[in-house]
């Protein structure tokens, strides 16, 4: 069976720098994949290529049996990809609830006329959007924070709010870009549990970029390691952690 997401020989150059070099990745449906690598390895670039923020120079990206390489970001998102960002991109002035509602309305649409006149589906869908958003906030333990402005939430909560917002898109594939960045060990442990929970409960194919090795090793059965834009190892966490190339990338020569 084909994977949910396939990258075939994807290359991305920025001027003379090759950020991603002939990368081929296959993610099967229902998998939880960790993407690791030293700083500047090109991990976030891979996410940016998948979500259409950068045009792909060479190669093809196939999602759910369809080529998505030439599509615009919003079209790719509508096909069922959701992501979070390394440095948060919430709407800071809107409340936590409004942040999630903004994502929810993608599958609960009503017409412009209904919006102008507050008639027809408006009432039904607005309350459905609100209920659904509250459900995702509750899942991420943010129910009490629903009416607080997103920008005033503690950092860890903002991270979880971004995941809640991504889940509200009802994606088939969830891309988490360093969800544990800036968290203390307890918060990381909590987050690992949460990621496993989400993955199980929503049967969601998930890809995680992470620097916290304990998170990746504890959570992801399938790990890919990148360095200088290339895939250098792939397999179970143990296989990857003991791979000589990976050790060299992280610790240098002479191990």
């Amino acid at each position: 069976m084909g994977g949910l997401l396939e990258l075939n020989g994807v290359t991305k150059r920025f001027g003379g720098i090759v950020a991603v070099k002939e990368l081929s990745i296959k993610v099967n449906e229902g998998e939880l994949v960790g993407l690791i690598g030293p700083n500047g390895a090109g991990k976030t670039t891979v996410f940016n290529l998948i979500t259409g923020l950068y045009p792909v120079d060479e190669g093809r990206i196939i999602f759910n049996g369809e080529e998505i390489t030439p599509l615009k970001s919003y079209e790719i998102i509508r096909k069922g990809v959701a992501r979070t960002f390394q440095n948060l991109r919430l709407f800071p002035r809107a409340t936590a609830l409004e942040n999630v509602m903004t994502a929810c309305q993608n599958h609960l649409r009503y017409s412009f006329l209904e919006a102008c006149l507050h008639m027809g589906r408006w009432r039904r869908y607005e309350s459905a959007i609100k209920d659904e958003s509250m459900y995702y906030l509750e899942k991420m333990g943010l129910k009490e924070r629903a009416f607080q402005r997103a920008g005033t939430l503690p950092y860890g909560h903002q991270r979880r709010l971004e995941i809640a917002r991504a889940l509200a898109l009802k994606p088939k594939l969830l891309l988490l870009d360093e969800p544990a960045a800036g968290m203390n060990p307890e918060e990381v442990a909590e987050l690992s549990e949460l990621i496993v929970d989400i993955h199980r409960e929503f049967k969601l194919t998930t890809m995680v970029i992470e620097h916290h090795m304990d998170l990746v090793v504890g959570v992801c059965p399938h790990v890919i390691c990148m360095n200088f834009g290339e895939k250098i190892a792939e397999g179970t966490p143990n296989e990857v952690m003991n791979h000589p190339e990976v050790l060299r990338a992280y610790l240098g020569e002479e191990v």
């Binding site: 960002f85 991109r89 919430l90 509602m101 309305q105 649409r109 102008c116 408006w122 917002r165």
Partner: protein, 288 residues
Amino acid sequence: MPTYIEGIIILTCINSIAAMGVSLLTGFTGIFTLGNAAYMAIGAYTTAILTMKHNLHWLPSVILGGLLAMAIAYLIGIPTLKLMGDYFAIASIGLGETVRLIIENWEPVTRGARGFPGIDSFTTLPVALTFFIILTWITFNLIKSNYGRAFKACRDDYLAASLLGFNTAKYRILSLSISALYCGIAGGLFAGFMTFLQPTMFDLQKSTELTAVVVFGGLGSLSGTILGTTIITLIIELFRPISQYRMLIYGAALVLVMIFRPEGLMGEKEILSLIRGMGRRGEHGRPT
């Protein structure tokens, strides 16, 4: 002919309609414009020409004027809204001046710089109030809907918005088109109020005033926009007898708001939610 007080109320209604259009564009979608007087001009001249030369009733004329302004905004928006931030504002100045110059030089149709006299005086107080109330109701509905949230998402972070599945270009163009429709209708009503049109009525100063009242009232607050428009219109009209000082007072009002309320009179809040918030605070004794 309306009395002096009626006149001021009518003018406030007209200015509020135009400012609400700019508020939707600048306050809620985050697109600064310095050329929306052009859409007022298009609405005003369309209404004048349709009623005077083609003997059309004023109501369809005003609406057609608004729709023409909307169509032109749509066509102009496709290329220019690719510009972000200040660059669009600069392009909009160009548009505003272009429209004004076309009207000034297209004499057979617009009667040029000498002005367009003798328009029917159809904008009575009930007419202005009806338009104002209906359009205010629609605008409040719109911002409290999926479209409102999409506009705000484009304003706060267009990258995040497109990664939530929003076609941001489409929403930006939609916002400009709606704002042009409002300005066009306001222009049509203005023609029926003044009964005389001149290209200089829709110059850069008018465009700046429209954006200034929106900033004055608070970006992202519709009631702030209406409040700001009312105050500025009153300042400009009530001090007309001492006309040398009136721009001074207008300037001073703007500077005072900049110093004491840099977020605008209402910030991002609406009057109704403020009143409700106060009630809630009183009941539970805790700040919200």
